[in-house]
C-alpha cells in the first residue's frame, strides 16, 4: 500500500467547507420547510440565508479557481470507461475486480463521477441556488407582475434539496469503495490517497509525467510560464500543483516513499540518499553500498561523461528534466531512465548538491535500439523480432504494402483490447484508427512506404470496444531486397488521454 497525492489544498478546503455548508443548509432548510423544530424558525431562516451566501461565495471562488487552474477539465464528461465504471459498481466490486480507472492528480474523477459532478454543477446546484435567490427576494418582485406565487419557486428549491441530499448519501457511501473503507475520506482530508502499490505506481508516474511535460514547456518557452526564471518557476509550478512543498518538506520526503526513483547527490557527486524504487531500478538491495558512492560508478564510459555533464549543469544552478540516461545495474545489465534534477541549497543559500527523480524507460529504449540496430544492419538479424515477440511493454506490428496486417504481438493485441491475434491479422490497418485519425496514419504509412522512418510520434488508437487509447509509435519500412514491402514498428502505451494529448503536441514540435 502506498500513498499518492491527489487533492490540492484548495480543493480540500473547498470540499469540506462545501460539505459542511450543504449539510447545514439541509438542516436549516428542512426546518424552514416545517419538518422539525431545531434552531427556531427565525434563526433557521437567518442561518439558512447566511449559509446560502457563504455557499454562493464559495461557488464563485471555486469556479474562478477551476477556470484559472484549468481544473475544470476534470469535470468534462467522458464516455470512456463510463460503462466499465458502472459495471464495476454493479458487479465488479463484488468480485474484487480492479477499479477500471485510476485516480491521479490530473484525473481525479472516474467517468461516473465526472458525469455526476457535472450534473450537480450545471443542473442541481444552479436550480437550488437560483430558486433560493428567487425565494429570498420573492417579496420584492411579487407584485411586479412576474411571479404571483411562491409555490413553484419553493417546489423547485425543495426538489433540488432532495436531490442534493440523495447525492450526499450516495457520495458518502461511495467513499467507502476505496482501497480501505476510509481511504477516500482520509485522502480528502490529507490530500494523499491510499492505493495498492500497483495503482500508486501508475498514479504517481502519471502525476510526475505531467509535471515533467509542464516543466519542459516552461523551459522551451511554450508554456504559460515566462522565460525569466525558466525552470525554477516551471518546476515550482509543477510541484506546487502536485502539492509538493519544496521549501518545507523537500521533494525527497515525498519521493522516498513513492514509486519514482529518488536520489540526492552532494557537491562532490556522491550519493547521499536514494529510495527503494531507485534501488529497484538499479537492481540493488543494499542502500548502504550506494550511499557514499560516486554518481559515475554505475555508468558505461559514455554514460559517465553524460552524467557528469548533467551533474555539473545542475550544480551550476540549472535544473534539468527528462534527460535520458543510461545506467548499469548491479547485475551488469543496462537500463535506461529519464532524470530530472534540481539543485538544493544549504541554509546559507549555497548550492549543496542536487536531487531529483528518475523514471524507467528501459523497454522503450531497448525497442528503439533494437529497431535502430535492425535498420543499421540492413534489416538483418532477428534480435528486434525476438524482443518484440516477448515484450510485455511494447506492442509490435507489421503491415503489408497493401495495408493489411501481417503480424502483431500479444502486447499489441492487448493494447487494442482484442482477444487474439487472429482478429487483427489479415485486416486492413484502418481498423486501428477512428475515421478522423485515419488520414494522418495513411499519410505516415505512405511516407514510410517511400522508405522514410518515423522514429517517434504519438497517436490515437481505436480499440475494439470503440474506446480510444494513446501510444508512442515508431514506423519503419520493411524491405525485401531493395523494395519496400510493408511497414513495421512498435508502440508504447500512454494510458492517459490528457497526457497523451500534451505529449502529442510535444512530439509534433520535435
Amino acid at each position: 500500500m502506498k500513498r499518492v497525492l491527489i487533492y490540492k489544498r484548495y480543493e480540500r478546503f473547498w470540499h469540506w467547507t462545501q460539505a459542511a455548508l450543504i449539510l447545514l443548509l439541509a438542516l436549516t432548510g428542512f426546518e424552514v420547510h416545517g419538518v422539525y423544530h431545531l434552531f427556531g424558525y427565525e434563526q433557521a431562516v437567518l442561518f439558512h440565508r447566511n449559509l446560502a451566501w457563504a455557499f454562493i461565495i464559495l461557488i464563485v471562488f471555486t469556479q474562478f479557481w477551476n477556470v484559472t487552474t484549468g481544473e475544470w477539465h476534470q469535470y468534462v464528461p467522458s464516455a470512456k470507461l463510463l460503462k466499465a465504471q458502472i459495471e464495476y459498481y454493479i458487479t465488479g466490486i463484488f468480485r474484487h475486480a480492479p477499479h477500471p480507472t485510476r485516480k491521479t492528480v490530473y484525473n481525479k474523477f472516474n467517468p461516473l463521477q465526472r458525469l455526476t459532478y457535472l450534473g450537480l454543477r450545471v443542473l442541481i446546484i444552479p436550480v437550488v441556488v437560483f430558486s433560493g435567490l428567487l425565494y429570498m427576494y420573492y417579496i420584492y418582485f411579487v407584485n411586479k407582475g412576474v411571479v404571483h406565487d411562491l409555490g413553484p419557486i419553493a417546489y423547485f428549491h425543495v426538489a433540488g434539496a432532495f436531490l442534493l441530499l440523495g447525492f450526499v448519501v450516495g457520495h458518502v457511501y461511495l467513499t467507502t469503495t476505496g482501497l480501505k473503507p476510509l481511504s477516500a475520506i482520509k485522502a480528502m482530508l490529507t490530500g494523499w490517497e491510499e492505493m495498492s502499490d500497483e495503482d500508486a505506481e501508475i498514479a504517481l508516474e502519471e502525476n510526475l509525467k505531467v509535471a515533467l511535460i509542464e516543466s519542459r514547456k516552461g523551459i522551451s518557452g511554450q508554456g504559460t510560464i515566462e522565460k525569466e526564471g525558466m525552470f525554477d518557476t516551471a518546476f515550482e509550478d509543477v510541484v506546487e500543483k502536485l502539492g509538493i512543498n519544496t521549501e518545507s518538506t523537500r521533494l525527497r520526503e515525498k519521493l522516498l516513499n513513492s514509486n519514482v526513483g529518488y536520489f540526492r547527490i552532494n557537491k562532490e557527486g556522491n550519493y547521499e540518499e536514494v529510495n527503494d524504487v531507485w534501488l529497484s531500478f538499479y537492481k540493488c538491495v543494499d542502500k548502504k553500498k550506494v550511499v557514499g558512492s560516486h554518481v559515475t560508478l554505475d555508468r558505461t564510459p559514455e554514460g559517465k561523461e553524460k552524467i557528469m555533464a548533467l551533474v555539473n549543469r545542475v550544480l551550476s544552478g540549472e535544473t534539468i528534466s527528462g534527460e535520458r540516461v543510461q545506467r548499469v545495474c548491479k547485475d551488469g545489465s543496462i537500463g535506461y531512465h529519464t532524470v530530472s534534477a534540481a539543485p538544493y541549497k544549504d541554509e546559507d543559500g549555497n548550492i549543496a548538491g542536487l536531487e531529483g527523480f528518475i523514471m524507467d524507460i528501459t523497454p522503450q529504449v531497448e525497442a528503439e535500439q533494437a529497431l535502430e540496430k535492425k535498420i543499421t544492419s540492413g534489416h538483418k538479424g532477428d534480435e528486434f523480432y525476438k524482443l518484440m515477440a516477448s515484450s510485455k511493454d511494447v506492442g509490435y506490428y507489421r503491415i503489408g504494402k497493401d495495408g493489411f496486417y501481417q503480424d502483431v504481438n500479444d502486447t499489441y493485441v492487448k493494447l487494442y483490447k482484442y482477444d487474439s491475434k487472429d482478429e487483427i491479422i489479415g485486416k486492413h490497418y484502418s481498423l486501428s484508427r477512428t475515421k478522423e485519425d485515419f488520414e494522418a496514419l495513411k499519410k505516415s504509412f505512405e511516407r514510410v512506404l517511400k522508405g522514410e522512418t518515423i522514429p517517434f510520434g504519438i497517436t490515437r488508437r481505436h480499440c475494439k470496444d470503440n474506446s480510444i487509447g494513446y501510444h508512442h509509435i515508431t514506423m519503419t519500412p520493411v524491405y525485401e531486397g531493395d523494395k519496400v514491402v510493408g511497414v513495421e514498428g512498435f508502440i508504447v502505451d500512454k494510458t492517459d488521454k490528457k497526457l497523451a494529448e500534451k505529449e502529442l503536441k510535444e512530439s509534433e514540435q520535435i
Binding site: R12, T17, G34, Y41, E42, N50, I139, V142, N143, F162
Partner: protein
C-alpha cells in the same frame, strides 16, 4: 503532526471562521429601522379651570341647559360636532362597486342586538346626545349634544340605563343623581373611561361586542395592552385620542362594522412607521401582514367576549312559564355550525336566546384590503345555505400580488368573527328588524311580550319594509378587525405560530404558498421515497460487499 496541522488549517480553521460568521452575522438589519423610542406623544394642554366660570355656576335644570352653557363659550363646536358619526350615527362612505351611502348604526344590522331602529330609546344610552328616542329625533338641535359624556373628568357622569328599572330616564338622558354642575365645572380632554363607557360595553356589557375593548384596559399592564398600560414598568398610559387623533371633533378611526373605506384612519404606521423592527425580514412582512396580526395574538384578555349569539332560542320560558334571565348553562363546549368551541361560557336568556362567551380568544385571520361591503336593510338574501356575512371585508391574496389600489393591497388581518342566528323573512328574503327594547306588555316589544311575530311586525313597519308574517333564523356573521390589546414584543406571535405545518394560525387562508406551512405532498413524498431508495440502495450494495468480502476470504 504536520499533516494534522495542515488538516486543521485547511478544514477546521475555515469551518470555525465561516461558521462563526454564518452563525453570528446578522444580515437582517433594516437601515431605516425606526425605534419606538423616537416616538413622541404630543398632547394639548388645557390651561383653563372650568370651575371658575360664572356660566357654570348656575344650577342646571336639564342637561340641555348645561350644553347651552358649554356652547356659549365653545361656539361653533356644536355645529362641528353635529357632523360627526358620534352624533349622526351615520357617515357618508363608499362601498366599492356599489356607490356612496350614508352608513352607520342608525340603519345597519348586526348580529348582536340586530338593529337600532325602534329600539332607540335604549340604544341611545350610547348616543352623544339627549333624547334620541325614536327616528324623529331632531339631529339639528345642538342643545341636545351630550358634551360631558366625553369630557367629564370627574368620573361621576353616566347615562341612564332604562333596562335597570321601569321609571328610569331613557333616550340617552343622564342617570338620576348626577351632579351636572360638578361635572360641568370639571371638564377636560376625554379620558379612557369616557370613551370606555360606550366602547367597552357595547352589546350590553363589558367586552361583549368588540372583544379587544374592555374595562380591563383602564388598569392594565403592558402585556395586556402596550399602549394603554397604566400598571407596571414602562406603562405609557396612553389615552384613546393619542392614537385616534382628533381635530374639530373629527375622531380618526372607525370600525368596519359600520365603515367601508380606508379614509380617516388611525393606523400603527403613523407613529411606528412601516419599519418598526430592527429585522428587515420582519419589516418585509408588512407587505402582506398587518401589524395587528402578530401583535394581537389574543383578545378578550381580561373578560369574556360574546362569540356566538343564537336568537332562535329566545322566548322560551321556564317550567313555570316565567322568562329566564341571564342563566348560565352547564358545560364549557358549544357546537355551532359544525365547529366545536371549547372553554366557553354559555348563557341563556329568554329575551336574547343563547349566548356563548369566551375569554383569551385566538383571532381568526382574513385577507383584507381596507374596504368593506355591507348588508343593507333592503338587501335581499339570495343564498341562505351559507352564513350571511353582514359586513364582508374585501381582500384576497391575489389582491396583494396584483393590487387594484397599490396603496392598499390586501394584508392578513386578525379579526373577531361574531356568529349568530338572527331572524329572517324567507318570503321577502329580508333580514328582520325586530322591536326588542320595551317594558310595557302588549307593546309588541320582544322583551316584554316574548312574541316574535309582534316584534317583527312592529320593527319592520317602523323601518317601512314589508314583513310576510313568516320568519326563520339564518346564520350570520360579522367581522370585527382587531386593533386593541396589542401585545408587547415578547408576547407577539412567533414565526412558527403561522409558519407551521401542523397547526398554523393561518391554516384557513389558502391559495398561496406559506413557507413552513405549505408543502406539496407529492413532492415531499417523492423526495422521501427517493432518499429511502438511495439509502436502501447503498445499504444493499454495502451488505453485498461485506458478504462477498467474507466469501472471498
Amino acid at each position: 503532526m504536520k499533516k494534522f496541522f495542515e488538516i486543521v488549517l485547511i478544514v477546521i480553521v475555515p469551518w470555525i471562521v465561516i461558521f462563526w460568521i454564518v452563525f453570528t452575522y446578522n444580515g437582517d438589519k433594516d437601515r431605516d429601522y425606526y425605534s419606538e423610542k423616537k416616538i413622541e406623544i404630543k398632547r394639548d394642554s388645557v390651561p383653563v379651570d372650568h370651575s371658575k366660570f360664572a356660566v357654570l355656576q348656575q344650577k342646571f335644570k336639564t342637561p340641555q341647559d348645561m350644553t347651552k352653557a358649554c356652547l356659549s363659550c365653545h361656539n361653533g363646536r356644536g355645529k362641528e360636532f353635529m357632523k360627526t358619526p358620534h352624533w349622526k350615527w351615520l357617515q357618508r362612505d363608499t362601498i366599492p362597486g356599489r356607490g356612496i351611502f350614508n352608513l352607520g348604526k342608525r340603519d345597519l344590522l348586526n348580529d348582536f342586538c340586530i338593529g337600532v331602529n325602534s329600539n332607540e330609546h335604549l340604544c341611545s344610552m350610547c348616543h352623544a346626545g339627549y333624547g334620541y328616542g325614536d327616528k324623529n329625533f331632531d339631529f339639528h338641535n345642538q342643545n341636545n349634544i351630550d358634551c360631558v359624556v366625553c369630557h367629564d373628568n370627574t368620573g361621576t357622569y353616566h347615562k341612564s340605563n332604562p333596562c335597570m328599572g321601569p321609571n328610569l330616564p331613557k333616550s340617552g338622558m343622564p342617570a338620576l343623581g348626577v351632579d351636572l354642575n360638578k361635572v360641568a365645572q370639571h371638564v377636560g380632554e376625554p379620558r379612557k373611561s369616557n370613551c370606555g363607557q360606550c366602547h367597552f360595553t357595547g352589546g350590553g356589557g363589558n367586552n361583549v361586542k368588540h372583544g379587544d375593548l374592555e374595562m380591563g384596559l383602564l388598569h392594565c399592564t403592558r402585556d395586556f395592552d402596550v399602549h394603554m398600560a397604566s400598571k407596571g414598568k414602562d406603562a405609557k398610559n396612553m389615552r384613546c385620542q393619542d392614537c385616534h387623533k382628533t381635530e374639530n371633533h373629527n375622531i380618526t378611526g372607525h370600525l368596519y362594522t359600520v365603515a367601508t373605506s380606508a379614509h380617516n384612519r388611525a393606523t400603527c404606521v403613523e407613529c411606528h412607521t412601516d419599519k418598526p423592527h430592527k429585522s428587515k425580514l420582519l419589516n418585509d412582512h408588512f407587505k402582506t401582514v398587518a401589524c395587528q396580526t402578530c401583535h394581537i395574538s389574543e383578545y378578550a384578555k381580561g373578560f369574556h367576549t360574546k362569540i356566538i349569539w343564537d336568537w332562535s332560542t329566545a322566548t322560551k320560558m321556564d317550567k313555570n312559564g316565567k322568562p329566564i334571565f341571564d342563566k348560565d348553562l352547564p358545560g364549557n363546549t358549544y357546537t355551532y355550525d359544525g365547529k366545536t368551541y371549547k372553554d366557553v361560557e354559555i348563557q341563556y336568556d329568554s329575551r336574547h336566546g343563547t349566548a356563548v362567551f369566551k375569554k383569551g380568544v385566538k383571532p381568526e385571520y382574513i385577507w383584507f384590503n381596507g374596504t368593506a361591503n355591507h348588508h343593507l336593510l333592503k338587501d335581499k338574501v339570495a343564498d341562505t345555505t351559507k352564513p350571511l356575512i353582514l359586513n364582508p371585508l374585501n381582500g384576497s391574496y391575489k389582491d396583494n400580488v396584483l393590487p387594484h389600489d397599490p396603496k392598499h393591497p390586501s394584508k392578513i388581518w386578525p379579526v373577531k368573527v361574531m356568529r349568530g342566528k338572527q331572524p329572517f323573512d324567507p318570503v321577502n328574503k329580508l333580514l328582520i328588524q325586530p322591536y326588542l327594547a320595551g317594558q310595557i306588555k302588549g307593546s309588541g316589544a320582544l322583551w316584554a311580550d316574548f312574541n316574535w311575530e309582534a316584534s317583527f311586525e312592529h320593527g319592520m313597519k317602523y323601518i317601512g319594509l314589508p314583513y310576510s308574517g313568516h320568519y326563520t333564523f339564518i346564520k350570520t356573521e360579522t367581522i370585527w378587525p382587531l386593533n386593541h390589546e396589542v401585545s408587547p414584543e415578547g408576547k407577539a406571535l412567533q414565526c412558527t405560530d403561522c409558519h407551521n405545518a401542523q397547526d398554523s394560525r393561518l391554516k384557513n387562508l389558502t391559495g398561496f404558498y406559506l413557507p413552513g406551512r405549505d408543502h406539496s405532498s407529492l413532492l415531499d413524498n417523492a423526495g422521501l421515497i427517493f432518499i429511502i431508495l438511495v439509502l436502501a440502495g447503498v445499504s444493499i450494495h454495502g451488505i453485498l460487499r461485506i458478504v462477498s468480502n467474507k466469501k472471498n476470504n
